[in-house]
């Protein structure tokens, strides 16, 4: 890429930020006597109120995120038999996990899914967001089409997966149509219960997580930058490559983090769409959990968490997203 994204986002600097800067100063000037009292009261409130306001959120995150993760780490060192878990301090779970070639194959397969889905959703997400942000001129249409894209996100993922079955199945819509058209003689078997179906379902489910943040980044791009590039003689593709793309990197990064972490942790899609023929890390964990092998699942969970965190950290090293939040 041409520009390292560490440079401040020009669009963000140029656009006037709404609110926040209005009239506080002028109020103080008009009523100098009242100003210290207001300031003091504000300071008094500011001192303890934020802590009180943020307590429920913090408590919920500690109870339902931090403690469970600590529990997983602790249990990953425990022993187990067929019915229960036994407190212990073993490395056996990790040794069995890391020494098994199945584990490595499964992680490899999951990473392969993540890479393919990431590349596809990025291409689709960028094109869709670009169309919405730069080609749809009326704001009403822009919002209507954006809503059209987002609505499926609010419906059940499992239903959206099942809905591919009548389309892709052996006697499904696609196969019968192709046979009727004389394109193929035998139904295509790879359409359903295959890696193809898994990746298709992932793209179907998660493309939106790419569209929304990229669209958001694109809407923040100052249109005068595009005009300037055009006046300076840049072609359409050069503008996309050297102006739009660099300014979209935070959105791309956020979308990528969503897509990659969702695919890395998934097990339902793989189970339903591969018909049990493919494996993923999440599925491996879910299987261990259904056999009550919680410490084994916990060790796997710790490894998965480290892999996911390393991937996210890698993406954040390339792109600084803090400005976007």
């Amino acid at each position: 890429m041409l520009h390292p994204l560490i440079a401040p986002d020009p669009a963000y600097v140029l656009l006037p930020k709404q609110g926040n800067s209005v009239s506080v100063g002028s109020v103080a000037q008009e009523a100098p006597a009242a100003a210290p009292r207001v300031a003091a009261r504000r300071a008094g409130v500011a001192a303890w109120a934020p802590y009180l306001q943020v307590t429920p959120l913090t408590a919920l995150f500690l109870l339902f995120l931090a403690v469970p993760i600590v529990t997983i780490v602790v249990v990953s060192f425990w022993d187990y038999d067929t019915v229960r878990v036994i407190p212990d301090m073993l490395l056996t779970n990790y040794r069995e996990l890391l020494e098994s070639p199945v584990t490595w194959r499964t992680y490899g397969n999951t990473l392969r899914y993540a890479t393919m889905v990431w590349a596809l959703t990025l291409a689709i997400g960028f094109a869709v967001a670009y169309f919405l942000a730069f080609h749809v001129q009326s704001v009403t249409w822009q919002m209507a089409l954006f809503l059209l894209c987002t609505i499926p996100f609010w419906t059940s993922n499992i239903i959206r997966m099942i809905s591919w079955i009548p389309f892709l199945g052996r006697n499904g819509l696609l196969n019968t149509t192709l046979i009727d058209l004389g394109v193929i003689r035998e139904p295509l078997e790879f359409l359903l219960f295959s890696d193809f179906a898994v990746v298709l379902a992932y793209v179907h489910l998660y493309a939106l997580f790419m569209v929304v943040p990229i669209f958001n980044s694109m809407m923040r791009i100052d249109r005068s930058l595009i005009e300037a590039a055009r006046d300076a003689g840049a072609s359409g593709s050069q503008i996309v490559r050297h102006v739009v793309l660099p300014l979209c990197k935070p959105g791309i990064a956020i979308g990528s983090i969503f897509v990659v972490t969702l695919v890395m942790g998934d097990f339902v899609t793989v189970r339903l769409m591969s018909g049990g023929q493919s494996a993923s890390v999440g599925l491996m964990m879910a299987n261990a959990m259904s056999l009550l092998q919680y410490p084994a699942a916990a060790a796997n969970a710790v490894v998965l968490l480290l892999v996911v965190l390393a991937m996210v950290a890698g993406m954040l090293r390339i792109v600084d997203i803090r400005r976007e939040l």
Partner: protein, 281 residues
């Protein structure tokens, strides 16, 4: 003129691509809606074998396909609780994050972590925690917590975006007129932010209503609706599955429509009363 020159380059191919994307999003969903009206002898794929409401009737006969009614009620109740808690907790946290306070970045990173930690880990972790403490997991305790760990980060990030665009002059004005902090929130901040809070509520409800992975080990002995649907995918081979899909999808659309209508009503009422609340948002 300007529009025309811009369109000539890449508008049409991109418009076609966008159209295909929309078909890709909605196409499969519409096939199962059509297939759910299969005749009593119809199968899981085309062709349609007559038209009937047979599978919808079948769906509401409890004994035939497990406990659809009960699962729906649990998911509805859980979604509503998650919605209320998400709106209240995110709003309060959003207020807090307008000030500097110690530990702000820790809370922020907890929220981000909650988004990127795979759902199955949350499920396993909360399940294990309840197991070790000897508590019985149930949809209204462990299930509620698991869902909140997914909805709260979204709620918080939306509140960040909302408060970023919120004009604090309104609050200053209220304060200068002698309003107490509580009155300022009740009569100034809340009305201005009402449409955004409806949005947060919609996120909270639908994310919970559709959540599967986080419910897996936390829902306890009674299934929520997505767990019930998932169970059906493995042992139901009739279009009743599509009927269920149609019913839940229509319900989801109804919820979205209600949220949009609620926002419109708020806007309309403001316009009618001539209030300028919300103009800054």
């Amino acid at each position: 003129m300007h529009t025309a020159t811009r369109r000539s380059r890449s508008f049409y191919p991109l418009a076609v691509f966008f159209g295909l994307f929309v078909v890709f999003l909605y196409g499969p969903m519409s096939t199962i809606i059509i297939l759910s009206f299969q005749g009593p002898d119809g199968g899981l794929t085309f062709p349609m074998n007559g038209m009937s409401l047979h599978w919808f009737r079948n769906l509401f006969e409890t004994q035939a396909v497990g406990d659809f009614g009960g699962a729906f009620q649990r998911s509805l109740a859980l979604g509503l609780i998650v919605m209320v808690v998400t709106v209240a907790v995110s709003f309060m946290a959003g207020l807090a994050f307008r000030h500097r306070f110690r530990g702000a970045s820790v809370v922020f990173y907890l929220a981000v972590a909650s988004l990127i930690v795979p759902s199955i880990l949350i499920s396993l972790g909360i399940g294990l925690m309840f197991n070790i403490l000897g508590w019985q997991p149930a949809w209204y305790s462990s299930g509620l917590g698991a869902h909140l760990s997914w909805t709260l980060p979204f709620g918080l990030l939306i509140m960040f975006a909302v408060f970023n665009r919120f004009d604090r002059a309104y609050e200053e004005a209220a304060r200068d007129l002698g309003a107490t902090p509580w009155q300022t929130i009740r009569h100034v901040v809340l009305p201005i932010l009402a449409p955004s809070l409806v949005g947060v509520g919609l996120f909270g409800f639908t994310l919970s209503y559709d959540e599967f992975a986080r419910s897996l080990m936390t829902a306890g002995s009674f299934n929520t609706l997505p767990l019930e649907i998932y169970g059906m995918t493995t042992n139901v081979t009739t279009p009743v599955l599509y009927a269920l899909g149609t019913v839940t999808t229509v319900f989801s659309f109804a919820v979205i429509a209600m949220a949009i209508i609620a926002v419109q009503v708020i806007r309309h009422r403001r316009a009618r009363r001539g209030s300028d609340a919300g103009r800054a948002v």
